[in-house]
């Protein structure tokens, strides 16, 4: 058993190789076998990851395939369904493997050999979290100022002021994160 961060790094390398290999498969039978293998390999927590894929990725991939098939069918080409099924299955399988591997690795430890990437990733993640938090707070603030549920027009009218506040606070937060990382010898 490898120790951290080697374990996470080995996992990330194996994951990258496996998803490139899956992306080369075009035969639905081969993809079905690969899906079964992935479900067996990642059986611990498979339901949770499968649910995440079914909610977050599958509708989009399926929507793309159905819309593309529908467009071609409308042109009178009556395309076979199997390439579209393979397309969707490939996308879903890659997402399942990605989520399952990410659940098992410490991504920032795995990226330790790339300090600039780690630094930018930490900064961006911190900003995304900060923006989400601020957006929620702003929405709650808007709701509390109105006697009724805010409509689209209310949101649009206040979006300028909210965005200014978001950007100002986000920039301040980014400066704090940058200072904290610098003080810990990150860069």
């Amino acid at each position: 058993m490898l120790a951290e961060p080697r374990r996470s790094q080995a996992f990330v390398v194996a994951w990258a190789a496996s998803i490139f290999a899956v992306s080369a498969l075009a035969d639905p039978r081969a993809l079905s076998v690969a899906t079964l293998a992935a479900l067996l390999l990642f059986r611990r927590g498979a339901l949770r990851e499968a649910r995440r894929v079914l909610v977050g990725v599958a509708p989009f991939a399926l929507g793309l395939s159905v819309a593309s098939w529908g467009w071609l069918a409308l042109r009178g080409e009556a395309p076979p369904v199997s390439p579209f099924a393979a397309l969707t299955l490939r996308t879903v399988l890659i997402a399942f493997v990605t989520f399952s591997v990410l659940r098992r690795v410490e991504i920032l430890r795995a990226l330790a050999p790339f300090p600039t990437l780690s630094r930018l990733l930490v900064l961006s993640l911190a900003q995304v979290h900060a923006l989400r938090l601020l957006a929620t707070e702003s929405a709650l603030g808007l709701r509390s100022r109105l006697p009724r549920r805010p409509r689209t027009r209310d949101v649009l009218r206040s979006s300028g002021a909210i965005t200014v506040a978001l950007l100002t606070l986000s920039a301040r937060n980014a400066r704090d994160v940058g200072d904290a990382m610098r003080s810990r010898g990150f860069h």
Binding site: A26, F60, L64, W71, L87, T116, V128, L131, A171
Partner: protein, 210 residues
């Protein structure tokens, strides 16, 4: 205009990674070294904002999606290299945490949406900024959107040409499905978003920190 994982084979994704990797290294070293401390807060904020606006995606036939990018503003304020690194970060975060786009297609998406699009936006901005700042910003964002969308459509068309069994949708369908919304709606909205965000950044006095 993300291409999701599984829509492009390694015949395309591996060369794209090979092309993008040295550009990432060069752009990150050039723009995010020790001297970038002052600009990092604004860059971080705009990257996060781009992550948010790119999260609203509408699937379009042919293997991609329609959404804003928010990258023209980084190309205008800084340079296409900054936009390339920031867009690649946004794409990496989306691929790892929300399953949008993907890791195998990261090189293709980054080159199209992070380099070609912002590069076109930067060139349009340089050519037009003498006329009017707002017009130049709008035109830059519009041009960037069209170039990025066109590049994605071409790559998907190339995949169909290489292997119709792998990617069954031809270029004629992909090009129409991606370029029509881009030319009529998305380009305009991206232009308005860029002009409005620039005005808001000035109002918040964040550009002083650059």
């Amino acid at each position: 205009m993300h291409v999701p994982d599984g829509f492009l084979s390694p015949q395309i994704t591996v060369p794209a990674w090979i092309a993008a990797a040295p550009l990432w290294t060069w752009a990150a070293r050039r723009n995010f070294g020790a001297s970038s401390t002052e600009s990092l807060p604004v860059v971080g904020s705009l990257t996060a904002l781009a992550f948010v606006v790119q999260g609203i995606m509408i699937p379009v036939p042919g293997g991609t999606s329609a959404h804003l990018t928010g990258m023209a503003i980084l190309a205008i304020l800084y340079n296409p290299g900054v936009a390339f690194v920031c867009e690649s970060l946004v794409l990496l975060l989306q691929a790892l945490f929300s399953g949008a786009g993907g890791f195998t297609v990261l090189g293709v998406n980054a080159l199209a949406m992070g380099l070609l699009g912002p590069g076109a936006a930067w060139l349009a901005w340089r050519a037009l900024r003498g006329l009017s700042g707002r017009v130049a910003a709008f035109a830059a964002a519009y041009a960037g959107m069209q170039v990025a969308t066109g590049a994605v459509a071409l790559v998907l068309g190339l995949q169909h040409r290489l292997s119709p069994a792998y990617m069954p949708v031809p270029l004629e369908v992909t090009a129409v499905a991606t370029m029509v919304p881009s030319l009529t709606v998305l380009g305009v909205v991206e232009g308005l978003y860029t002009v409005a965000t620039l005005a808001l950044l000035r109002r918040a006095r964040l550009l002083d920190a650059r």
